[in-house]
């Protein structure tokens, strides 16, 4: 009995939280290093297809992004449920792609203007018709280097 009573009146030793900051800092640094700030919020569904023969897109400053997909839930009432193009922060029509590319190209430094890549981030359920139209627009403004952005994985997973 004595044993029990002894424990009761003695204070519980506090758990040392001294190492908690260290753990949290570790996590913090991990996220800080892998973080890239989003420059535009996605307004379209964007599940990319898989591909195995991918190349890494180096040098982020040389890339112009075009997003394609079905508008997300909150925008569906206004913009319908057909795949749309998103340029920066707004929806756009196919014929605006050319001017967008030219405007983005003008913003880049002179020496980069000829080596820009257009990254097409297209939802896997989109139809090729829209993509073909975009490709045609890109050809018109001579933005010939494209990158179909994908996840790395087995390409045959796309078909299921």
């Amino acid at each position: 009995m004595a044993k029990f009573t002894k424990k009761k009146d003695g204070d519980l030793p506090a758990v040392s939280t001294a190492s908690l900051p260290d753990i949290v800092f570790m996590l913090l640094f991990f996220f800080m290093t892998v973080t890239t700030m989003k420059d535009s919020s996605l307004m379209v569904e964007n599940t990319l297809p898989n591909a195995s023969e991918v190349k890494k897109l180096e040098k982020k400053d040389r890339v112009i992004y075009i997003y394609v997909g079905v508008p997300t839930q909150e925008y569906q009432k206004v913009f319908g449920s057909e795949p749309k193009i998103q340029l920066n922060d707004k929806f756009a029509n196919v014929d605006e792609v050319g001017t967008f590319i030219l405007a983005e190209r003008a913003k880049k430094p002179q020496e980069l203007q000829n080596v820009l890549t257009t990254a097409l981030k297209v939802d896997k359920n989109a139809n090729m018709g829209l993509i073909t139209d975009i490709k045609q627009e890109l050809r018109k403004v001579n933005a010939l280097k494209v990158n179909y952005t994908t996840y790395e994985g087995d390409a045959f997973n796309n078909l299921q």
Binding site: K56, L57, K124, K145, Y148, F156, L159
Partner: protein
């Protein structure tokens, strides 16, 4: 005055709170970027000045219809067989000028890898995922052939060499060395993948 046992402990209790605050901020703003994909060049819009005459046998036509079925050289084909068929076409070597090819030398197929062209057509209603899978297989056919030759000549994969060559962190001495190797393999199997305008019917 006698010193006390040691320096008084700094209260670090709130450090965790501050760190958590930062952590949560970065957690919320994080998007782990998907920055890989299939690189392609689009054809220039103005037609070339001189018409190039290409023999029909040097063109490997791949058609995708709206249901995602493949028509390869006028035959229905399963997507899984596409890579093999494309590789067979590319290194067919009908005129015998390609010394490193292991093709069947069929007269009805391509003359040599530098002349072989793959033409990809798709319907407007083809799903993007199917299109990417086909693109992936065709690029894969080129990569497989290039890897094979690269293994034979340099003992390592072409795709790895190219990735190292394109990586900006690679020291320039290594890169100069890789440049010639990459170029040589690329010239062995030049990637000629034409994307014609979509058929509407």
């Amino acid at each position: 005055m006698p010193r006390r046992k040691g320096a008084p402990e700094v209260n670090a209790g709130s450090m965790a709170d501050i760190a958590f605050l930062l952590l949560i901020f970065f957690l919320v703003t994080t998007t782990i970027e998907t920055d890989a994909g299939l690189d392609r060049m689009l054809p220039p819009i103005e037609p070339p000045d001189t018409d190039v005459i290409i023999k029909q046998k040097n063109i490997f036509t791949v058609n995708i219809n709206k249901n995602g079925q493949l028509l390869v050289e006028d035959n229905l084909m399963n997507l899984k067989d596409l890579r093999k068929a494309a590789m067979g076409f590319l290194e067919n070597n009908a005129d015998g000028t390609c010394t490193y090819c292991k093709g069947k030398k069929e007269q009805s197929s391509s003359d040599n890898p530098t002349k072989a062209i793959i033409s990809l057509k798709n319907d407007r209603e083809t799903k993007y995922s199917t299109y990417i899978t086909v693109q992936n297989e065709l690029v894969g056919a080129y990569n497989d052939l290039r890897n094979r030759e690269s293994q034979r000549l340099y003992g390592r994969d072409f795709t790895k060499m190219e990735a190292e060559y394109l990586n900006p962190e690679t020291p320039s001495s290594v890169r100069d060395d890789l440049k010639d190797k990459v170029k040589r393999i690329q010239d062995m199997f030049p990637q000629k993948l034409s994307e014609a305008e979509t058929s509407t019917n």
